[in-house]
Every structure is written in C-alpha cells, then in structure tokens.
C-alpha cells in the first residue's frame, strides 16, 4: 500500500518526526505567546533558555547525580528563577517602550548566554542518555515507534493543554487575561500585577527549560541548540499570531507535521516551507491565523 508512490513507513516515519518537532515548536511558541501577552516583550532569549534547560539537565546529572526525572522538575525551576531575575533587573524597565527594545535586549542576552556556553563547552554537543524507563520502542507493525519519542509528544501535548486550561479556564488565568488587556485597572482591583508579570515571565522561561530537558536525549546538549530552533519558532509564532494560546499550540504541531510531509514529498523545500508559509500568512493575514488585531 503506497501513498502517491511513497511507502507508508517513510510517510509515517516523517510524520512522527514532524510531530516531535511540532511538539517543541508548540511548547516554545506557547511560552513566547504567554510572555508576549503579559509583558509586551518578544522574548528572543527563549532559545537560549531552552538550551539552558538542556544544560541544567546535564549539570544535574554530572555534578549532582540527579537523573532525567529530577531534571524535568528542577531544571525548569532553576532556569525559571534566572528568568525571574532577568525580569526584575532588566525587562521591567522596558515595558513602556516599543516592542523593539525588549526584542533587542533579549536578543543581546541570548547572544551573551550562548557565547558563554560555547566558550565553556564548545559546539560539538554533549551526550545525554534516554532514561532507562523510556528506552526501546514499540513495533506498530507498519513502523517502529521509539518510546522516548512517543513520550515527548504525549508530555508536550499534556503540558500545552494544561497551560491552555490554566489561562483560559481558571481564576488565575482570568487575572492574566484581564491584565493583558488593562493592567492598571486589574492592579487597582487589588491584584499585585507587577508580581504577576514577574511570575509569568518565570513560567514562560520554565516552559522553555522544560522543553530543553525533553530535547536533551534527542538532540544532544549543545550551546547552539536553541539558536537553531528559535528562528523556526518565531516563524511559527508569526503564523499563529502573537498572543493566542491555542493558536500557538495548534500552529506548532501543525507546522511540524507540514514540515514532515514536505520532507516526504519535496525534501528540497523541507527547511524553508515554514518560512514560505510565514511569508504567505503575513501577506494575507498579518495578525496571524489565530491573532487578534488590536
């Protein structure tokens, strides 16, 4: 059984790869969307923070002997705390300025962080093993499904949906949405909006670090892992539209799949297809597929 002359193993294999890439796109663009909604800042440090999550996992293992499962919890907390410090000391001075200033500051920070890691660890990447519980895979008959990859897709879906639920369906989320629209009024109701902004940034950064830990066994731990990914993630965000939570999730997974399909049907375009879509979306619907025009 072939689809347009493509054996199903190849098709499904690429779709799975697309789904895994999509899982990372979704988690990272979700964090960017949350941060942008609340802080009005395009967090270009996101890729570096994702990389720091992977390195945190590596450090925890090599210096403290704490394995993957600990890293999934501790790395986001640690890197999130660094994010909180960045917000407190730097970003908070930029909220009243144009988006561009936040973008430039976070872009500069990303380069500094990346440079420091590269200086210390080189560019070849450090190995990080798949945890014992998730080694091996399932033979589905038509393809072999590595357990770890299935886990990444499932856990990122769960994290994305939990974040969506938190923001769209809870009281805390109502504070966040309201503060996105009119922070001064929400604060005048008695809510500590500056603290909420700090924690939101910390949460978005923690999400990036969490994705970094998930990525460590797949892509290795490499100082440049974030900068490679973040450009694509920004394209995903532009396509989905800034500020829409569900939009970020759907676009992330969707574009991962499209990229996978392109690898099957026209491999030459696989590394550019997302940017072609971005250009088209910008021309037709500049606010993005799910974006609200202000």
């Amino acid at each position: 059984m072939d689809f347009f002359g493509i054996p199903p193993q190849a098709l499904l294999g690429q779709l799975l790869l697309g789904l895994i890439n999509g899982a990372f796109y979704a988690m990272l663009s979700l964090g960017l969307a949350v941060i942008f909604g609340m802080l009005n800042i395009i967090n270009f440090t996101h890729g570096a923070q994702y990389m720091m999550g992977a390195f945190a996992a590596y450090f925890l293992l090599h210096y403290l002997g704490l394995g993957y499962w600990w890293a999934l919890i501790l790395a986001p907390i640690g890197v999130g705390a660094v994010g909180v410090a960045i917000e407190r000391t730097m970003l908070r001075h930029l909220y009243k300025l144009d988006h561009l200033y936040g973008l430039l500051l976070t872009f500069g920070l990303a380069l500094v962080v990346q440079g420091l890691f590269q200086n210390e660890f080189g560019s070849s990447g450090l190995p990080y093993r798949i945890p014992a519980e998730l080694q091996g895979g399932q033979n589905l008959g038509f393809m072999f499904l590595p357990n770890y990859r299935a886990w990444v897709v499932l856990v990122s879906l769960a994290v994305c949906l939990a974040t969506w639920f938190l923001i769209e369906r809870t009281r805390l989320g109502a504070y966040l949405r309201a503060a996105t629209e009119n922070p001064a009024l929400v604060q005048a109701f008695g809510i500590n909006v500056p603290r909420m902004i700090t924690l939101t940034y910390g949460f978005g950064v923690a999400l990036a670090a969490f994705a970094g830990v998930l990525a460590a066994p797949i892509y290795q731990v490499n100082p440049l892992m974030g900068s490679n990914l973040i450009i694509i993630v920004f394209a995903v965000v532009v396509i989905g539209g800034m500020g829409s939570i569900m939009g970020a999730i759907l676009t992330g997974f969707g574009l991962g799949l499209i990229e996978g399909l392109t690898k099957v049907f026209y491999p030459e375009a696989s590394s550019t297809v997302i940017f072609v879509i971005m250009a088209l979306v910008l021309l037709v619907k500049p606010a993005g597929l799910f974006g609200r025009t202000a």
């Binding site: 009281r171 109502a174 504070y175 949405r177 309201a178 996105t180 629209e181 009119n182 001064a184 009024l185 929400v186 604060q187 005048a188 109701f189 008695g190 809510i191 500590n192 909006v193 500056p194």
Partner: protein
C-alpha cells in the same frame, strides 16, 4: 466633625511634564455621597485615579481612614477598601460576564452577595456566559458597578456612570446608587449629568483647571443654581 473617611489635601498630579492637579483638597464622610462637578479636562477623573493610586506621579496627601495612601501602589490601596469604576467601564473583552463579575478579589468581608447583585441588575444573570464586551453600554456599566460591590470595599469611586446611556438606564443606575447609599457605602462620584447628580448627591465640589473652586451643599442647590450653570457652561 468626626474624621472624614477620605481626606485629600494639597493633591498634585502629573502626566509626564504636564501638571494636571494643582493642590486639590476635599473630604468625604462615611456614608456620604459626594459629587465632583466640572467641565471636561477640569481634573475630575485624574482626582479619582490619584486617590486609587493609578497616577504614578502624585504628591500631597490622600488619607483613607487615617492611612496615608500617597506612597502606596494601587493594589495595596484597593486592599484597604477602595474600589474604582472607570469612565470607560473597563469591561474585559477576553473574559465572559461571569469572569468579569468575579474578577476583583474579595478584600474584606461584608461584600454584597451575588443574589443581591442579581436583584439590582437582573440583566447580568441572564448573560453570564456572554463575552463581556458583547453587552450593551448600559449592561456594561451595570457590570462595572456590580463587580466592585462584591469585594467588601466601602468607598466607591464612580467615574461618570451615566455617560452615553439612555434615560431609562440612567434611572436604573440612579436607583442602584440610591440603594448603595442606603446600604452604607460611601461614594465619590464624578458626573457631567448635573440633573442626575442633584438627585443622588449630598454635597458637591466644583473643579476647574485642576483645583476645587467651590463647594455646595445639597440645601444650597436652588440658591446656587446659576453659579453652577456658569461653572459647567450650560
């Protein structure tokens, strides 16, 4: 005279370089309904916003129950028992009516229960799942008032609650404000609609160019009517 609930003295406020309030003095006693009158741009809204801490650059003194508020951030001020209802109503588009209503956190016991609120504003109960900004102007105003009644705040600052509303809705808002007063809320009201203000207020301050220029008691209203018309330019 007992210490007033709210005592504003020598209040100055600035928007960047522009000096908007030039030493505002006013007092509101517990249970009183005081109205700020004045033309557009006189500084009425800025006065309310300065009291609740929404104007970053403000100087002078704002005392609530003897607490000095001038240095406090707005979320701390709110927790002392002040609630603000903005002129533009501030209904959140990304929240439904129920979420808008439940948004302001409870700051003290003794807030109005939902049953009482729905008795005052029956329209809201039927629209709880609608998007906040899909309500009519009048319903949005009711929602904006309703949500600050829940919180246990005792001093309500209402900025032009009748602006742009139909007479029948204004009447409903007036009845509501009367009922709030009867329940013991203290209210500082900004109002352009002088007729509406005379029906509900105990006392009036007139503002011009960022200053209080006159104070008129309810009893003197008839005698001072021509002065007031001159102030408001009607």
């Amino acid at each position: 005279m007992p210490e007033p609930l709210l005592k504003v003295a020598g209040l100055n406020a600035f928007y960047g370089e522009s000096h908007v309030l030039h030493g505002v003095d006013l007092e509101v006693g517990a249970g009183e309904l005081v109205t700020l009158l004045g033309r557009n741009g006189a500084g009425k809204t800025t006065t309310l916003k300065s009291v609740v801490g929404m104007i970053a650059d403000r100087r002078g003194s704002v005392a609530y129950q003897g607490h000095e508020l001038i240095e406090l951030p707005s979320h701390v001020i709110a927790r002392l028992g002040l609630a603000f209802c903005p002129e533009e109503r501030g209904i959140f588009a990304s929240l439904d009516v129920g979420e808008n209503l439940m948004l302001p956190p409870e700051i003290a016991p003794g807030g109005m229960g939902l049953d009482d609120i729905f008795r005052l504003f029956p329209n809201l109960k039927e629209r709880l799942r609608s998007q906040g900004t899909k309500l009519s102007g009048g319903e949005q105003q009711m929602l904006a008032i309703a949500r600050i009644l829940r919180t246990g705040a005792r001093l309500l600052l209402l900025d032009e609650p009748t602006e742009g509303l139909a007479p029948v809705i204004i009447e409903q808002i007036g009845a509501c404000i009367g009922e709030l007063k009867a329940k013991g809320f203290t209210i500082l009201l900004v109002e352009q609609n002088f007729r509406f203000a005379t029906e509900v207020a105990d006392r009036f301050y007139v503002m011009e160019n960022g200053r209080i220029v006159d104070e008129i008691g309810r009893a003197d209203l008839d005698r001072r009517r021509t002065d007031i018309e001159a102030y408001l330019g009607v």
